[in-house]
Structures are given as C-alpha cells and as structure tokens.
Symmetry: C2
Subunit: 324 residues, 2 copies
Amino acid sequence: MLSILQAQEIIQSEFEKYYIADQPSELYDPINYILSLGGKRIRPALVLLANDMFGGDIDNAIKPAMGVELFHNFTLLHDDIMDKALLRRGNATVHTKWNDNVAILSGDAMFIKAYQLMVQCNPSILSRVLEIFNTTSLGVCEGQQYDMNFETRDDVTIDEYMKMIEYKTSILLAACLQIGAVIAGASLSNADLMYEFGKNMGIAFQLQDDYLDIFGNEANFGKEIGKDILSNKKTFLLLKALELAKGETKLQLEQWINAKSFNTNEKIKAITHIHKSLGIDKMTIDASNQYFSQALEALKKVNLDENKKEQLRLFLKSIQERNN
Amino acid sequence: MLSILQAQEIIQSEFEKYYIADQPSELYDPINYILSLGGKRIRPALVLLANDMFGGDIDNAIKPAMGVELFHNFTLLHDDIMDKALLRRGNATVHTKWNDNVAILSGDAMFIKAYQLMVQCNPSILSRVLEIFNTTSLGVCEGQQYDMNFETRDDVTIDEYMKMIEYKTSILLAACLQIGAVIAGASLSNADLMYEFGKNMGIAFQLQDDYLDIFGNEANFGKEIGKDILSNKKTFLLLKALELAKGETKLQLEQWINAKSFNTNEKIKAITHIHKSLGIDKMTIDASNQYFSQALEALKKVNLDENKKEQLRLFLKSIQERNN
C-alpha cells in the first residue's frame, strides 16, 4: 500500500513536470510562483491514498488530485488578498509581489486550471466527482466568509466556530478522501465513510492548531507562539474562555482583549494563565481527541480489509501525535 | 423555431425562479443583486437557440445556459473590482455597494454556482461541454489580462487588439453556440462551425461598439458618446489612427492624447475629425462587416436545413443593423 510520504513525493514530482502556460505572464507567473513555494501536498496525497486503499489505478487519480491542490492554492491566493497577508510559506504573497488585480485574476485562472485537471477522470464517475468538488468548494467559500464575519462580531458561539472550521478547513480534506474512493470505484457508503473520516480528522487538526498556538513548543511548532492571543483571534480556546470565565477572571480577560497598548509577552502570559486556570488546555485536547476518535470510528466502519486501512491509520496517528 | 426574444424570455423567467442560498448573506446577497440588475441574457439565449436549431430538447440546455450567464456575471463582478468601476447597468457595482473582499469571494462562489449549473447536462456529453467551457473561461481571463496590460502600454498593435477582443468578448459568445449544439447532439464539424459563427459575430460586434462610441447617435446608442476618446482607450479606431496619421495630423493626435487638461467637447470633436480625415470611420465599419460576412459564411457551411438557420440569421442581421 502507498504511504502518505510516497503519495506526497509522487504529487510533488508531478507538479515539477506540470506546465501551465506562459502568456500573458501576469496571469500565469503567479500560479507557477505559488506552486513553487511548495507546501506539504497533503490534500492530493490523500486522494491518492484513498484511491490506493480501494485498489484504484493511480493513473486515474493523479490529475484530479492535482486539481484539488490547485484549488487549495487558489483559495490561499484569494484569502491572502482578503486578509492582507504579507507572507505565504515564508515568501511574499502574490498580491504583495504583484498587486491585487493580478492576484484576483490569476487566482481565477488557477481555479479554472483546477477544473481542467479535475475533469480528467473516468467519464463514468465524472458527474459524481464534480458534484462533490463543487459542493465542497462552495462550502470552503462559506467557511472563509464566516471566518471574516467573525473578526467584527463579538457574539460568536462555539457552535458557530465549529461550523466555520468544518467548512473552511476540514471538508476539503474530507472531499479528497471521498473523491479518491469514488475514482477507485468504492461503494457509496464506503466513500461517504471516507468523507466522515476526513471531516473529523480536519476538525481535530484545527483544534490542535488552536492549542499549539498557545501551548506548543516554539521550536517544534515552527510558528511564533501566541500569535492568536495577540490578534484576539476567536479560536476554540478564546471562545471557551469567554464562555467559562466569571468574576475577576472575566474582567481580566476582557481587559486584555480590549487593551490598545500592552507588553506582548505579558499579554501572552496572562491569557495563557487564564486558559490554564479554567482548564481550557485540557478541554481543547479532549475535544480534539474526540474528533480523532470519531475519525477512527468512521474508518472502522469502512467495509474493507483492515490491513488496507493501515496507511490511513498511520497518517492519522502521526497527525494526532504531532507537536508542530 | 425558437426566436432570440423567446429564448431571452425563457432564461429570464428561469432566473426569476432561481434560488441561490441565503447564508452567509455577505456571500450570496451580491450574487442575487448582480443577477437582479438584469442584462440582455444574450449568452444563455444563444445556447438555447443553437440547441433548438439542432433539434435538442430545451430541458437539457436550460441549466448549462444559465451556467454560462452566471459565469459571465462573475467575470463582470471581478472585472469591476479590477477596473475600479462605480456603476454596472446603472447601479452601484458590488465592490462599491459592499467592499472588495465581498466582491472577490462572492465572485468566486458565483463561479462555482456556474459550474454547478454547467454540470447538469447529459453525462454522455459532459466531458465535451466542460472542455469547451474551461478552455473558453481561461481564454476570457487571458483577454481581461491583455486588456489591463494595454492600459499601460503604448506599443499595442492592431493584431494584438484583435486577439484581445476575440478572447475577452467573442469566444464566450462562440462557446455558447457550440455548447448548445453539442447538447443537442450536433456533429463535431457543425458544432465547430457554430463556434466560428459566434466568434466572428463577437468580433464584429465589438468593432461596431468601438465605432458607435464615436459615431453613434447618443440617443440611440444609450451611452455617452466619446467616452473612449476621453479615456484614450486603445480601441480599433485609435490604434488605426496612430498607425496611419502622419505629419501634422500625427502631432495633433499625440497632443490630444497627452493633454492633461482639456475641454472635453473640443477633444471629442478634434479626434473625431482626425478619424474622419483618415477614413477610419469607414475602415472600422468595413472591418466589422467583414467579420459579419465570415460569420454568415460559417453558418452557410453548417450542414442543416436552411430554414433551421433562420432565427440565428435574423439575430445576426439585428445586430448588424443596430445603432445602439
């Protein structure tokens, strides 16, 4: 069976051979640029993994897998404009390196290129694959919209937050596994279970990310610790703290959130302390683990030899055990 | 046979019944808004007309036809951001009424909705329809990029301009006719001839538009006369004038183009005079008519009873005779 690492390598080498077009250069250079910045290629690798699990021929899955990766990068390109992000994978974002117009239009072109790859699957399952892909893509846009709305709202509930991360992050991972299964000819119920697996894994992953931003080891996590705290980002932890804090703790929390000027280390330390005192670190890990368990449950229900599920189980384990 | 007017009415009534979604409202309200601003629905009507010509069932063509219209409106939405346009069909553009981020993301969602409609055609021709649609969409993006590039270039040739309008405007009209034919089960060569018809008609239409901006009757044309002149827009007429003008005329032309402050009526009058003195009004009409003839030639070659081509011929005639 194909391992996730092997699948990532296959996808990477396919992208090295992938030629988009060269004229007009303002349209195509940014696409080549963002693809050259790398990334882990997890989504397309999951398409290949699922396809392999159900005995599919890899040649039928590679193009749609690359399509999903192009779609993902297209969303990053447009999200970076909306978020006014300066850096992507340690390099200048497209709208910074070129300008907003170039980023809008080359993003649109990238989305079309994603479809051009996506439609290169067996005609007998094309309708089904596109149905999944379209529903998922629209959901990802909805997730991004909710995320932007949350920035200016101060009544976001945990339920709303869970829905947002499900849409923005996890349904695309879910769809990758489902599409891979469909391409391999898996039954409807098996393909749906793969989606369930991916959805739960994605939510677990995002909760972990929220946790690691505060409680991760800076060297291992690879990102600056406490960035979410400094930007008052409405993560699972902050929303939970706002829900549970009472009296003096609540006042302190609100003071830190509303403070216009502050020492960054002090703010991180204070909020981390509040989270710990409320037991939110443990709650977040528990919530994340619950979704990991649900992912495993879905995988168990997949009607397939257990040994064929091994690579996906190993992948899930590696995610659950990550500290970065 | 279905007339273009009947086809437009059918599409319009389908759009009145079309429900997108309502939450998140920032994502879907702008889509409903731009669709409510109307427009002639020419593109989807051409899908229906071509489908009808080849004896196709209208029920198979309506959804893809609407998909093309959604795609067209999506391009307007994003183009308006890039062009910083304030008005669309006499109303505030989406990025003005909301903001750039809303316009970017709701545009993306609209593009996905276009695909969702597009894929609702017979699975046996789905690959072919999507191949045409994807190639065309990408071409439209290329056309928009060339158009933006031209704004800051002063060495644009007539050939480059012809390619730009072909991509930006005419290939989508061409694809509508081709897709309609494919849905009805037309032969490959007939469908290709329909594309040829549409492409030439689109180019002819755009050249007419360039002409009418200067030589149209203001009341009939429905737009302000001379807008292209005032913005130094590199139309067929200006590029031809720059190519042909010599000596004193050339100097005058360049002075008007480079003038930072001027009386608008005087500029319009002077450039119009230069165009007339160089015979550019007639040249533009001749060029446009040549493309109209090529469209008719393609239609003649379509292997079908002549009476079935009547509605499309009438439509072409109505375009050619328009003065607005």
